[in-house]
């Protein structure tokens, strides 16, 4: 069985600065894979490389066996790999429902249709209803996205990534900036809407990661220093030194 996602010796440098220095990583089909690492390790850059926002300097990104390195974001999404953003990236002046409609159009084959009314598309309406319900946004459907509360905006952000129908999702700090109780609710939401899909996520909340991840990879200074189950990562001395160790010092 091929992996859902495999990175082979991926590198990215900005001028003389090497940010990603030969990353090798494989994400199995259907697993929840967490990417952790100290600030500045290159986690966001890695996500930008995989999702096509920036092009790698060298190396391969295999998505279901196909090299997608250097492809446009739209091509990558169509292939079945979509993402959410750390900084909320939605359509602020459109309603929640319109946000979701945009996200399901490609998957349902309507693309750039200009000869049919959006409201007349039954499949779009049904899919959006289902998503609204799953995201818990049914009561906000006709409100503009910029009028939502922060956790609601984060839910919509997640919703846009899920709605595109991709079976592999990159989630960039989905709980960023949330309180403890909000994090709990967001965790349950993510588990619910990503059921049966492959997940690669960056997150800072260790509690969340050790609770939900099947496997964890640790990125330090542009390289993966360890990959394994939560127990293995907890026990790994290199990780403790490079990452958890510094975290303890910070806490102390």
């Amino acid at each position: 069985m091929t992996d859902a996602l495999e990175l082979r010796d991926l590198r990215k440098s900005f001028g003389p600065v090497d940010i990603i220095r030969g990353v090798n990583l494989s994400v199995k089909k259907g697993e929840r894979h967490a990417l952790i690492g100290p600030n500045g390790a290159g986690k966001s850059t890695l996500f930008h490389l995989i999702s096509g926002r920036i092009t790698p300097t060298s190396g391969q990104i295999l998505f279901e066996g196909q090299n997608i390195a250097g492809q446009e974001p739209a091509q990558i999404v169509r292939a079945g790999l979509s993402r959410s953003f750390q900084i909320t990236n939605i359509f602020p002046q459109m309603t929640v429902l319109e946000n979701l409609r945009c996200a399901v159009l490609w998957k349902l084959g309507h693309r750039y249709t200009f000869w049919k009314r959006t409201l007349g598309l039954v499949d779009v309406a049904e899919d959006c209803e289902r998503l609204l319900h799953e995201l818990g946004l049914t009561h906000r459907r006709n409100d503009t996205a910029d009028s939502l509360t922060y956790p609601e905006q984060r839910a919509l952000e997640l919703g846009l990534a899920v709605a595109s129908g991709a079976h592999t999702l990159l989630l960039d700090e989905p709980m960023a900036g949330m309180s403890h109780s909000e994090t709990e609710a967001a965790l349950r939401l993510i588990m619910r809407v990503t059921e049966g899909r492959t997940l690669l996520m960056v997150e800072h909340d260790m509690g969340v990661i050790f609770e939900m991840a099947d496997r964890i990879s640790v990125l330090v200074y542009g390289q993966i220093i360890a990959t394994g189950t939560p127990e293995e990562i907890r026990a790994n001395p290199a990780v403790q030194e490079a990452y958890l160790g510094t975290a303890k010092e910070e806490a102390a």
Partner: protein, 427 residues
């Protein structure tokens, strides 16, 4: 016998009604207008406003719907006019009885094709690069046009006689009112098409590109293709408008595709309001009428357009349509009665400052550009003199008092609204 009516049927029916009402209203207005304003001068004014309304609607596909600022939309208005003019001339030459009323279709399709090429070049990026590139393309076409006098004519333009194609659809196209009916039908067609477009998936995606082009890419779409589609569609409809203008005045010059046309449509559309479907139509009517009437009585009419535009950009980005909508909502709200004395004060202070500004501007024109006409001038019914300090002081004092009075009034209005909102929240 009665049928049980389900919710969805009710919803369908109200949706059908909400579409039918504006359609009926537009149709009735279009039919009534020439009967209410029958004079030849009024009909030709209506014809001008009609072409401008179509033109402004086309521009709003870019500005309001897709969030793209084009500084070269006049190009397609002008090109449409030339295509239509040459089409008429060729058909007459070849002795083909092509119905004149369908000539705008040729102008529209031709502009759409040219717009697809231009759109491919301009649509790579939105925002400022788009604005600069559209300006560059427009300058390219305008500069190149002077090289081809056989297509674009020289200074005097290319003219034709719209009656040469003979009559069709029961119209001889001699009297202006015949052209009015052509313009009215094309207005209904174009407005209908564009309204439908705004309700389709492509229209939705255009809104999405306006809001956040990057995220559109991450949903599987090409923002460039969405921009291109908007550009080509806008160009096509502008071509129809340009063709109608050519049929109306029977002459097209290179000025039609120049910078002044592009600027005019931007002013009309933005002042009218980009966020309401009929805002651009309102803008075309208001600015069009001002252009026709104000240019007769004041040399400063362009200055007033510019100041109006800056006012809308800085204070009321919703344009006239936005102001009307907000005003209607305000009058209907419970908080209107307690606010009304302050609102009246604001209206008086605002009116005073505008009157003062007009006096100063008119005096300045008379002292500068129009000094040859003599210093005596009548502004807003007041006999003034551009060389008299008293005249200048009158305008200046009105302006200053108005502006000084506005600030505390606006603060009080904010305070009042805050109090009303809090009282509402406490209940």
């Amino acid at each position: 016998m009665t049928f049980p009516m389900t919710d969805t049927k009710l919803a369908d029916r109200s949706a059908a009604l909400s579409v039918a009402m504006p359609v009926l209203t537009v149709a009735v207005v279009l039919i009534l207008l020439p009967n209410l304003f029958g004079s030849n001068a009024m009909i030709s004014t209506l014809n001008y406003l009609g072409t401008m309304a179509i033109f402004a609607l086309s521009y709003n596909v870019l500005l309001g719907q897709t969030g793209l600022l084009s500084l070269g939309h006049g190009t397609f208005f002008g090109l449409g006019g030339f295509i239509a003019t040459h089409a008429v001339l060729r058909f007459v030459e070849a002795d083909i009885a092509f119905p004149l009323a369908l000539i705008p279709l040729i102008g529209g399709v031709g502009s759409f094709a040219l717009g697809s090429v231009g759109g491919w070049l301009a649509s790579g990026r939105g925002g400022m690069p788009f604005a600069m590139i559209t300006l560059g393309l427009a300058e390219l076409v305008a500069a190149a046009a002077t090289l081809f006098p056989s297509i674009y004519g020289s200074e005097e333009g290319v003219s034709m006689d719209r009656m040469d194609l003979g009559s069709s659809f029961g119209l001889s196209y001699g009297p202006n009112v015949d052209i009015y009916w052509v313009i009215a039908v094309w207005f209904a067609i174009c407005a209908g098409l564009l309204f439908f477009l705004s309700r389709t998936p492509l229209g939705l995606l255009q809104n999405a590109v306006r809001d956040n082009a990057e995220r559109v890419e991450f949903l599987g779409f090409s923002a460039r293709r969405v921009r291109m589609s908007a550009y080509a569609i806008a160009a096509g409809i502008a071509g129809v408008a340009g063709s109608l203008a050519a049929l109306n005045v029977e002459i097209t010059t290179v000025h039609a595709l120049g910078a002044s046309t592009s600027t005019l449509v931007l002013l009309m559309t933005y002042i009218g309001g980009t966020r309401h479907f009929f805002g651009p139509v309102l803008g075309a009517i208001v600015i069009g009428l001002m252009k026709i009437w104000l240019s007769d009585i004041s040399p400063a009419w362009m200055m007033y357009f510019g100041l109006m535009f800056i006012f809308v950009v800085m204070v009321a980005p919703g344009g006239l349509a936005g102001i009307l909508a907000n005003g209607r909502a305000l009058v209907r709200s419970a908080g209107f009665a307690p606010q009304s004395p302050i609102l009246a004060g604001i209206a008086i202070a605002g009116g005073l400052s505008v009157a003062g500004l007009i006096i100063v501007i008119e005096l300045a024109y008379r002292a500068g550009l129009d000094a040859a006409k003599g210093a005596e001038i009548s502004v807003l019914g007041l006999p003034l003199n551009a060389e008299s300090g008293l005249s200048w002081a009158t305008g200046g004092v009105m302006l200053i008092i108005g502006v000084i009075a506005l600030r505390p009034l606006l603060d009080r209005l904010d305070g009042k609204r805050h109090a009303i909102a809090q009282a509402g929240g406490a209940k």
